[in-house]
């Protein structure tokens, strides 16, 4: 577990939807009101709010309501923790020399021998 102790199941579930990934990409341009996030999706507001709720539960975004406007913002620290997990996996995988290819190659050599 990292210091941020992210809930990877919630995070990856949130990232598994293309609409939510597009919303995250849009937040790369800065904090925006919900209405602005909703516009390019063409979705009804309740649907947009459900997507935002999934992203907020996963700590990928945060929202603050000021007056009648709800502003959304990215939480880069969660993406950082997720990237750390992926990097750990990659490091382990790539350090291995006995990949399946090597295993199959050995098998084929054995079959020929």
């Amino acid at each position: 577990m990292t210091k941020h102790d992210p809930d990877l199941s919630l995070i990856f579930q949130a990232l598994s939807d293309p609409t939510r990934r597009a919303m995250l990409a849009q937040l790369g341009r800065g904090a925006v009101p919900v209405s602005e996030l909703a516009r390019p999706t063409g979705l009804a507001l309740p649907t947009v709010m459900r997507h935002l709720s999934v992203l907020e539960d996963a700590a990928l975004i945060m929202t603050v309501k000021t007056g009648r406007t709800r502003m959304c913002s990215a939480r880069p620290e969660t993406l950082a923790a997720t990237a750390d997990w992926l990097a750990d996996q990659r490091a382990q995988w790539e350090a291995r020399t006995d990949r399946l290819e090597a295993y199959v190659a050995t098998l084929m050599k054995e079959t020929k021998a």
Copy 2:
């Protein structure tokens, strides 16, 4: 899209399950037979096969049947493409200075003024 053109929805869906993440971590130790992947999960073989199928559809693993043994192996290139997507998002997010904190700070200043 990257050169690998990974299906991020399938990949993140596959990664959203803790059993599947544990299987991937185990594959960091190299190619292993299905039976060995199944043992620590304590799950029935059909359930294990379903998890492996989700991982294989997402191109996170590959399996090869040799005789009566099905060997599983990680596909690091898919994890690499996924990490690239995350890195792109992070770079965009972290380049922004107008985060929600800054927005809120401005709002508070305006309220005081």
